[in-house]
Structures are given as structure tokens and as C-alpha cells.
């Protein structure tokens, strides 16, 4: 019995003594807030058409398409004033959530974001599905211990707490769920890709680049006609997605960092070449939550070292040119 209790205690201590992934969750918070603002602003002029009371997607249609237990505050009233208030509240709360974080704002952000998404599900991109789930987990986490006003004091308070606390455990479990859900997404996406014939053939990128809705430039479509480039990108995508959950679990920091940076590069490509800006941003945010705090500290140290090295290489030549004293022609001749 004592051995069981000791094991349970070890588990509890592991969960409840120190908040983990604080930097990644803070970055996810910023990204979700920013992406929601972008989402609203992308079609700000068309807001009546997409979400308003006289939208083609009428309140009646939206209500019928709501899942069981689904809700949207936009469907509470069909008045123009309510719509404008709520739509602008989404923008304001997203900005506040991005800057300040905190549980109350996370909950408000979750309610408003879900409401906007359920008002018109036709204009969602897939990344929104992940954001809807992750924000629910974030309600239970500390997402403002970094990159928020008062973050330093908040961290000091957290450090001062002695012994295991339930709050810390709840945060860590929420952080685990964020990471688990993201890993599940990549594992599933990688699995579906690797079983698809066009992905095996390396032709998937060619077909994707030919879809008019996801073609931001003809150069991209032209490049994807290359068998070598197309196959390389297909295989790179499958490999990084399937490797993601294993890399996150890896004890070797370089594996975690390399895989995460690779997958973020992929999403940058999706943002620029396919025009899925909010989607790519949300995915990058989720990837950020999968790196540990020590990974970020190591990356920061590396960036500082790199900056110093570059500065040192530039400084001697700059210093020399500043110290040069102009020599007159007479001085030069006498020398």
C-alpha cells in the first residue's frame, strides 16, 4: 500500500510542483488572439455578407447547422446593433487576450471565437478547429507568465509557492492536453498522407498548386511541376508530420527543436504559397506550445551568441574606420 502511495505521490509531485511550457503557451495565446483579429479584419468590409443579420448564411440556416450543444451568441438576436456590438467585441477581446491573457479573458475569447465560428462554418479553414479545442484547454492553464504585463511578478509569485499545488497540476495537465492534441493532429495528418497514392507518387503538391482557391502565385504552381521538388516537399511533409509526436517526446533537445522548426517552415510555406494565413499562424502557435521552456531558453542563448558573434565580426572594421585620422599629402610624402 505504501509503495502505491509513494508512486502516486511521485506522480503528483511531478505534476504539481512546477508549471511547464509557460513560454510556449504564452506564444500560443498571442497567436490565437492575433489570428482571430486577422480573421475578422480579412473580411471586415464583407462582415454583413458573411456573418450579419442579412447574411446569405441566414440565422435560420446557421441554427440548423449547429451541432448538439453548439451555441453562437450571434444567433441570440437578429438585430444589427447586437451583431455590430458582438463582432467588434470579438476584435477587442482578441486584442486584450493577446496582450494580457489570464483565465477570464481566455474564457471570453473562447466563447466569442466559438460564436463567430458557429455563425458561419463555411468560412473556416481547419486551423480554426484546432484553435477551438486548444482554447478550451487554455482556460485551465497559465498563459500569461511570459510576454504579458506583470509577467515577471507572476513568475516570481509562482516560484514562491512552496510544495505541490492543485493549480500547478491543472496547468500542467492543460499544457499536456494542448501538446497531445497537436501531436494527434500531426500523427493523423501524416497517416492520411502516407496512405494517399498521390502523396506516395510525390504528385500531391502539383495537384494542390493547381487548385485555383489555393494558388497565390503562378511561380509556386510552376515550381510544383518539378518532379524532384514536388516529391521532396511531399516526403518532407509526411516525414516531419509523422515524426512530430516522437520528436516532442524525445529527450534530445536538437530533435525537438529541429522538427518543430521544420514543421513551422512548412506552415510558413502554406501561408505564403496557399494564402492560408490564419491557418498557418494557428498551426505555428500550436507548434510553439510543443517546445519546452528550456528549449526556448537554449534558443534564446543561441540567438544572443549569434548576435554577439556577428557584432564582434563587424565591430573591428567599424572601430578601425572610426579611428582613422586623415593624412594630408605632405605627411604622406614625408613618410
Amino acid at each position: 500500500m505504501n509503495r502505491v502511495t509513494a508512486r502516486l505521490d511521485a506522480l503528483v509531485l511531478r505534476l504539481a510542483c512546477q508549471e511547464r511550457r509557460l513560454i510556449g503557451l504564452a506564444m500560443l495565446r498571442i497567436v490565437i488572439g492575433f489570428a482571430t483579429v486577422l480573421y475578422c479584419l480579412a473580411d471586415y468590409d464583407r462582415r454583413q455578407f458573411l456573418w450579419g443579420p442579412t447574411s446569405f448564411h441566414s440565422a435560420e440556416v446557421a441554427s440548423k447547422l449547429l451541432p448538439k450543444w453548439g451555441f453562437s451568441l450571434f444567433l441570440v438576436s437578429n438585430s444589427q446593433l447586437w451583431f455590430e456590438l458582438l463582432f467588434h467585441a470579438v476584435i477587442v477581446v482578441s486584442i486584450a487576450f493577446m496582450i494580457f491573457g489570464g483565465r477570464a479573458l481566455t474564457l471570453a475569447q473562447a466563447v466569442l471565437m466559438w460564436s463567430l465560428h458557429f455563425r458561419n462554418q463555411d468560412v473556416l479553414e481547419g486551423g480554426d478547429n484546432l484553435a477551438q479545442i486548444l482554447i478550451l484547454f487554455m482556460v485551465f492553464s497559465v498563459s500569461n507568465a511570459y510576454f504579458a504585463p506583470g509577467a515577471k511578478q507572476r513568475r516570481a509569485r509562482m516560484r514562491a509557492e512552496n510544495g505541490p499545488t492543485v493549480g500547478t497540476a491543472v496547468h500542467n495537465l492543460a499544457a499536456y492536453l494542448v501538446v497531445f492534441q497537436t501531436c494527434m493532429l500531426y500523427l493523423t495528418a501524416g497517416y492520411w498522407k502516407i496512405t494517399g497514392k498521390v502523396w506516395q507518387d510525390g504528385a500531391a503538391m502539383y495537384y494542390i498548386s493547381r487548385l485555383s482557391g489555393f494558388q497565390m502565385s503562378t511561380t509556386y504552381a510552376h515550381l510544383m511541376s518539378s518532379a524532384f521538388l514536388g516529391t521532396t516537399i511531399c516526403y518532407f511533409t509526411i516525414f516531419t508530420e509523422l515524426a512530430f509526436p516522437f520528436a516532442v517526446l524525445s529527450a534530445r533537445p536538437w530533435v525537438r527543436k529541429t522538427n518543430t522548426l521544420a514543421i513551422e517552415a512548412m506552415h510558413l510555406g502554406i501561408m505564403t504559397c496557399m494564402g492560408l494565413v490564419c491557418f498557418g499562424m494557428l498551426m505555428i502557435g500550436a507548434d510553439c506550445a510543443c517546445l519546452r521552456d528550456e528549449d526556448y531558453r537554449a534558443l534564446y542563448r543561441w540567438a544572443v551568441r549569434l548576435k554577439d558573434t556577428v557584432a564582434e565580426r563587424i565591430r573591428p572594421s567599424v572601430g578601425l574606420s572610426r579611428n582613422l585620422i586623415p593624412v594630408t599629402e605632405e605627411q604622406h610624402a614625408s613618410a
Binding site: 503528483v12 509531485l13 511531478r14 442579412t54 447574411s55 448538439k68 497531445f180 482557391g213 497565390m216 494564402g275
Partner: protein, 222 residues
């Protein structure tokens, strides 16, 4: 901060373990939910759906699809009354291509408008598939099945009716529009193996679904 060697208070232990239970349940449910179809998954998926839907519903097949091998096109025609009182029909105008290219107008934060037609294309595809299946049924079951099908897609067609009404009002602003009709077509993408062929093969455009004349809905935002 630092793990202590002192025994964990019983209340903390109980609360942390209680918090762990839903997390473990979610993990298990999520694995089953996302697993590929199998006899084992099929037995578990009922209760799992009840746990995860709607708030944790997820479909990551979107991230790893077999990409489409055709480009969807939507042709819209309008029936209008001229000032002389005559009723005329406009020739079908392709509207999807322009909407699909609208994100290029502002690539930094592109519009989500193409998603609407993507959803309509999907609806048209599903409806056509199910209507084709109905044609294979015995003659005495066809009418009832078709009625059920139309009923289940009524919401989607109402949405299309409103969308195409707004489009028609934009295209023909000074006319009295009576009805709109949409035709969904597919144009296959030049196959990968023929991408460098010269001249490029001309792919036929296949009609997928043609709606009936849908009554014009006035007052939809444009």
C-alpha cells in the same frame, strides 16, 4: 518550485488524481476518435463520439487529403423581368474562378470567401452522389428516398439560394430578378504525367449538378 520529499497532503493528492481522470479519458477517446476505421474502432466509436462531440469534434483528414484532381466551376444564370415586362434568362456566367482568385487581391490577409464556394461544391458533390445511389433503388422506393434527400439538403439549398441571389443582385443591379439557377461543373486538372505535353490536353468540363430555378431572395447583404 522544487519537488519536495515531504508527503503530499491527502487533499492535494486526491484533487490532482481527480483532475487526472478526465485527462486520461480524453486521451483515450481522442486516440479512438482519430484512429482509422477498423472493427475495434467501430465498436468503441459510439461512446467516444458522445464524449468528444461537439466541443472536441475534430477532422484532421482535411490536413492529409487526397488532393482534388479537378477544379470546380459554378455557372449562375438569372431570370429577370425587363422594363418592358418581358421575362428573360441570362446566359450562365462562371462565378467561382473570380471568387477563388479574390485572396490574391490582398495576400497579407486574404479573404475567406473561397471557402463558401468550397462548401457549396462539397454539398453539390454529396447530393449528386446520394441522388445517383437513389437511382439504383427499386422504382417504388425512389420517390420517397428522393423526398428524404431533398429534405435533408433543404438547409444547404436555402443557403445557396440566398448566396446566388446576392450574386445576381451584384451582377444585374438595375433589373428585377425573379429567380436564379446554378450549375456545378468540374474541370479535371491536367494530369501530372501530361503537365509538359505540348499542346496541353484540353480537359472536358463535366456538369455535376444543376439546381432548379430558385426563387430570388431580396435583401441579402452583398
Amino acid at each position: 518550485m522544487v519537488p519536495t520529499t515531504a508527503p503530499v497532503p491527502a487533499r492535494t493528492r486526491a484533487l490532482v488524481l481527480a483532475a487526472l481522470v478526465p485527462v486520461v479519458l480524453f486521451t483515450a477517446a481522442c486516440v479512438v476518435y482519430n484512429a482509422p476505421a477498423s472493427p475495434a474502432r467501430n465498436r468503441l466509436v459510439g461512446p467516444v463520439n458522445r464524449v468528444l462531440e461537439p466541443y472536441f469534434a475534430q477532422d484532421w483528414q482535411l490536413f492529409g487529403p487526397t488532393p482534388g484532381d479537378s477544379v470546380s466551376l459554378v455557372y449562375m444564370a438569372a431570370r429577370m423581368k425587363t422594363p418592358s415586362g418581358a421575362v428573360v434568362e441570362t446566359p450562365p456566367v462562371e462565378i467561382e474562378d473570380a471568387i477563388d482568385r479574390s485572396p490574391q487581391d490582398f495576400p497579407i490577409n486574404p479573404t475567406k470567401l473561397p471557402g463558401v464556394l468550397l462548401a457549396f461544391d462539397e454539398t453539390a458533390q454529396k447530393y449528386t452522389q446520394q441522388a445517383t445511389d437513389i437511382k439504383k433503388l427499386p422504382a417504388d422506393q425512389k420517390a420517397a428516398a428522393q423526398t428524404d434527400l431533398d429534405k435533408s439538403f433543404a438547409t444547404n439549398f436555402l443557403e445557396m439560394r440566398r448566396f446566388f441571389s446576392a450574386q445576381a443582385a451584384t451582377l444585374y443591379p438595375h433589373n428585377e430578378i425573379l429567380a436564379v439557377k446554378a450549375t456545378f461543373k468540374d474541370r479535371p486538372i491536367v494530369p501530372f504525367s501530361a503537365r509538359y505535353a505540348n499542346p496541353q490536353p484540353v480537359e472536358p468540363t463535366d456538369p455535376e449538378l444543376e439546381t432548379s430555378w430558385l426563387d430570388y431572395v431580396p435583401g441579402v447583404a452583398q
